[in-house]
Structure formats: structure tokens, C-alpha cells
């Protein structure tokens, strides 16, 4: 039997990881639905005059970010507590299989679930909004650059989430929270710079306009724009990727 990767065993690990996954993020996922609806309603009152708003996309972004952070943090924290780490490390599967299984859940399955939940709530609101608030959102364009940015910031946030989740379990909830807030501010600054660099991609992108209000694109000269763009790529993509890869080595080299 292959010692590094065996598909049958990988499926077993994936199944086990799915069965053992944390419930807390799902509680938050469902718990945030009333809040989503509340913001939709607020949005409806504020935007009824022109019968449309770009709000939902930003909400989706934040929804994904919060739930995803929680999920990644809690999912990886299995490796931090002594008891669960022992069980996880002694499980007869290779580090690659274990890491890949977790990654699939954290990076693919959970985001898809979040996206589906959001869509469900959004469609539900769509059913009642016209009659109750004389308001209708225009359909979200899921293939727009917005989604790209949204998912990108999300995936960038995941390794950060993993890092802060680990910090939370290791340093305690308070220090973990401080760590997260600092991380969040840093990341948000990076996103601000980054979206400024991205703004030439699409001229009618709600997310970009929202987060890059401080930019007046005409006043930024082209050199700076290119610099900003590179900074965004290097400043976010690289550490993001490194953190992701490091989570593999963390699994492989973790000792008690």
C-alpha cells in the first residue's frame, strides 16, 4: 500500500474529517441569517427610490469572511489540543492525505456551503421584498470580478484564520482575539491597497467602489497603480500561499 497517497484511504480521511468537523461555524452560519435579512431590509428602505442596490455583494463577502475564519480556525485547532492532536496524528493515514482532506473542507466545501446559504437567504428575500418594500435587488452577477475579489480576500483570510485560530487555542481566547483584530486590520489595509490596484479591471464593480472610496483613480498616476498592483500580488498572494503550504508542514512536523 502506498505510504504517501492512497485514494481509498484519502476518501476515508475525508469522510472522517467531514464527520468530525466543528459545528460552531454552522451555528454562526445559521445564526447570522436574521442579521443578513435585517441588513437587506435596511438596504431596501435606503434604496427604494432607484429600486436597486449593490449592498448584497458586500454582505456576502463579510458573511463568507466571518464564517470561513471561524471554520478554518476551529478546524485546524484540532492539532493544537493535546488529546485531539494525539488522535489525529496517530490516525493511520499520511500527512498529505490528512492535510488534503482538511484543505478540501476548509477551502472548497465550506465556502460552497456558505455561498449556497447566502443565495438561499438572498432568493428568499427577493420573494418578499417587492411586495413588502416595493424594492428588488438586481441579480448578483456571480461571474463578475467582484466574486473574484471576494473569494480572493476570503482565501487570503483563511490561512490568517488558521493562524489566529491556532493562536486562540494556544494563547487563550483574549490574546487570540487581540491577535485576530491586529491581523484583521493589517489584512484590511492590504485589501484597500489591493482593490485600488484592481479597480481598472471592471468599471462597474460595486465592491471596488465601496472599498476604494478613498481613491480617486484619476489622480493616481500609472506608475503608482502598477506598483500597487504588484504590491497586492506579492503582499497578499505570497504570504497567503506560504501560510497554506506551511499548514502541510505543520501537520507533518507537528510533535506533542
Amino acid at each position: 500500500m502506498n505510504n504517501t497517497f492512497d485514494f481509498r484511504r484519502f476518501v476515508q480521511v475525508l469522510r472522517l474529517s467531514w464527520q468530525n468537523q466543528p459545528i460552531l461555524p454552522y451555528v454562526v452560519l445559521v445564526g447570522l441569517i436574521p442579521l443578513l435579512l435585517f441588513f437587506f431590509v435596511i438596504d431596501a428602505f435606503g434604496a427604494y427610490v432607484n429600486l436597486q442596490s449593490d449592498g448584497p455583494f458586500l454582505m456576502f463577502n463579510e458573511y463568507l469572511f466571518i464564517c470561513g475564519w471561524l471554520y478554518a480556525g476551529v478546524a485546524y485547532s484540532e492539532l493544537v489540543k493535546l488529546g485531539s492532536a494525539t488522535r489525529y496524528l496517530m490516525l493511520p493515514a499520511s500527512a498529505l492525505e490528512k492535510w488534503l482532506a482538511k484543505s478540501v473542507l476548509v477551502w472548497v466545501v465550506f465556502p460552497v456551503i456558505t455561498w449556497l446559504t447566502f443565495n438561499l437567504v438572498f432568493e428568499f428575500f427577493g420573494l418578499i421584498s417587492l411586495r413588502w418594500f416595493a424594492f428588488k435587488y438586481r441579480p448578483i452577477n456571480w461571474v463578475s470580478a467582484d466574486l473574484g475579489i471576494s473569494l480572493f480576500t476570503f482565501y487570503m483570510a483563511l490561512p490568517a484564520a488558521y493562524a489566529s485560530g491556532v493562536a486562540w487555542k494556544r494563547l487563550g481566547i483574549l490574546k487570540g482575539l487581540v491577535f485576530f483584530v491586529v491581523l484583521f486590520i493589517v489584512l484590511f489595509q492590504l485589501i484597500l491597497i489591493g482593490t485600488g490596484g484592481f479597480s481598472f479591471v471592471s468599471e462597474k464593480s460595486s465592491l471596488i467602489e465601496q472599498v476604494s472610496l478613498s481613491y480617486n483613480n484619476d489622480e493616481i498616476d500609472a506608475d503608482i497603480q502598477i506598483m500597487v498592483r504588484y504590491f497586492w500580488l506579492i503582499g497578499i498572494l505570497v504570504p497567503s500561499f506560504l501560510l497554506f503550504v506551511s499548514s502541510y508542514f505543520f501537520t507533518r512536523e507537528r510533535t506533542l
Binding site: 505510504n3 464527520q19 488522535r87
Partner: protein, 282 residues
């Protein structure tokens, strides 16, 4: 089979927990690892299970290095730790989730073990006491079919009847292919199960020997008067006389109280050199 060669381990630089130890453990044996608190018994188990990596030296288990944590190695090793953390699911669900990873898992042994321990498979692990959880883990270990079983203080948290059950279940599962390693400071709980003894002291292996070899050389007896110095190795006052560790003079085998032997070795480690490892003249 496990071979440990010149293996050292330290958590902090220059403060080794285990210093250049050598061990050889054969399949078919039940090895008791004894040592004072903090001497590195758990650390040794972690090293053998690949949960810690040696600072230097080598460990091989069935020809594999534990630290690589290859699936072929992991599916032959089951470790019962002192501290564990179980998911909030039923006992049965736990078995359904984890048993598929162990190809030699025996469902009949599992059911029998749970019955012996008096555990209801339909109860949630979250509602079980520490001792009951331990029984679940022990049952799983015994049913796993793994060739190497590592037990860290297996009788901790078990009530007296459950200790009986554990001994009964484990002794029924020992065979020529299986190696069980038990660390404990309750020697008497498992003494009858052991056929080999490893004593750790001051970062080293003070003694490694089969019980058969030991009983050929020393025995314990309770006497009203202290025996002569040529025979006596160590003694302890008990009501009505002395509990003594004696050299086997006539080559006649006697009982051996491992707890007394352990105490003797703690205060008189030289006994190993003088009476346990060298051939007797008489």
C-alpha cells in the same frame, strides 16, 4: 519488533530527558516500563509512536521509522494516552468512524470488550465519566488488531473490577505477533501480565530483562528475621517481619514482587550490576 539505538531526546537543549538509550522489544512480549515520575516514560511512548522525534539516534518499529508516520506504521500501532479528547458522539459511532482505518479490527472483540467493561455502545461519549471513556479507548485498542500496543497508565481511572476486566481482555489478545508496552506506576495492577521489565532512571535504561531471567536470579519473601547478607539485597519492614528481595541461592525460583524490586532499584541501582545482569556463581 522495536529497536531503539543510542537514542536521545531533549525538549530543551542540553537537558536530555532520555540519554543514549538502547532497547530491544520483541513481538509476543508484554513489556512493563517502570520509572519514577518525570523520568520520561510517556516521552518514550511518544517517541515509539512517532509523536515525538528523537534528537539523535534511531528507532525502528518493524523496520520503519516512527517519526515518518507512514500509514503502514500507523495502522499497526495503537496508543492509549493518559489524556484524551473524544468527539461528542456515541460509542458505536466512534467505532464506525475509526475502525475502517484498522484492517485487522475485530468487531467481536470490540463487542466483547465493551460487554466485559459494561459499556453501552449507544451512549454518547460526552456523557461518560473519565474511567468509562478510558474503557472505550482500551476496548478499541484491544480490538484494533494492531501489532504494537502502547499503553500509558492503562489502569488509571479504572475501578477495581475494571482492572480485572482489562487484564483478562489483554491477556486473551497477546500472541506471538503482538507487542504490548505498558508504562505504569501501579506495578501491581499489571505485574502478572508482564513478561519483560524495563526500568528507567536518570535519563537511562537502568535495567532491561525478561521476568524469567529475573526470577531465576532473585525472589521476594516475607521473613520474621532478616536473612544473611550474602542472600539479602534489599528489605523493608512489614507487620510481622521483613519483606525482602533475596538472591536466589539454590537456583530455586520464587515469587517476585515487582513493586519491591522497583523500590530496591530506586535506592540501590547497583543491584542491577551486582545481582541481575551477571551470571550467578552458585
Amino acid at each position: 519488533m522495536i529497536v531503539v539505538q543510542e537514542m536521545s531526546f531533549s525538549y530543551r537543549r542540553n537537558k536530555p530527558v532520555l540519554d543514549q538509550i538502547n532497547l530491544q522489544m520483541e513481538a509476543g512480549g508484554v513489556y512493563g516500563v517502570l520509572g519514577a515520575n518525570g523520568v520520561g516514560k510517556t516521552t518514550l511512548l511518544h517517541l515509539l509512536g512517532g509523536l515525538l522525534f528523537p534528537s539523535s539516534g534511531n528507532i525502528t518499529a518493524d523496520g520503519m521509522k516512527p517519526m515518518l508516520r507512514q500509514p503502514a506504521f500507523l495502522e499497526q500501532v495503537y496508543y492509549v494516552p493518559v489524556e484524551f479528547d473524544l468527539p461528542r458522539i456515541t460509542v458505536q459511532a466512534y467505532q464506525q468512524r475509526y475502525a475502517p482505518f484498522y484492517r485487522q479490527f475485530s468487531f467481536t472483540t470490540w463487542a466483547h470488550a465493551l460487554e466485559t467493561f459494561g459499556i453501552d455502545a449507544h451512549v454518547s461519549l460526552a456523557h461518560l465519566s473519565f474511567g468509562q471513556k478510558k474503557k472505550v479507548i482500551l476496548s478499541f485498542a484491544i480490538a484494533s488488531g494492531c501489532r504494537i500496543l502502547l499503553f500509558d497508565e492503562p489502569t488509571d481511572g479504572l475501578d477495581i473490577p475494571s482492572k480485572d476486566s482489562f487484564r483478562r481482555l489483554l491477556s486473551a489478545r497477546i500472541d506471538e505477533q503482538r507487542l504490548a508496552i505498558i508504562t505504569t506506576h501501579h506495578v501491581l495492577d499489571v505485574a502478572m501480565l508482564l513478561d519483560h521489565l524495563v526500568v528507567l532512571k536518570d535519563q537511562h535504561v537502568l535495567m532491561q530483562s525478561s521476568i524469567e531471567q529475573l526470577t531465576a536470579r532473585v525472589r521476594t519473601a516475607t521473613t520474621t528475621q532478616l536473612p544473611g547478607a550474602d542472600e539479602l539485597l534489599y528489605s523493608e519492614r512489614v507487620p510481622g517481619g521483613y519483606h525482602c528481595l533475596l538472591r536466589n541461592m539454590q537456583g530455586q525460583e520464587g515469587p517476585l514482587d515487582l513493586e519491591l524490586l522497583f523500590k530496591a532499584l530506586q535506592s540501590h541501582p547497583e543491584i542491577v550490576q551486582n545481582s541481575l545482569t551477571h551470571e550467578q556463581h552458585i
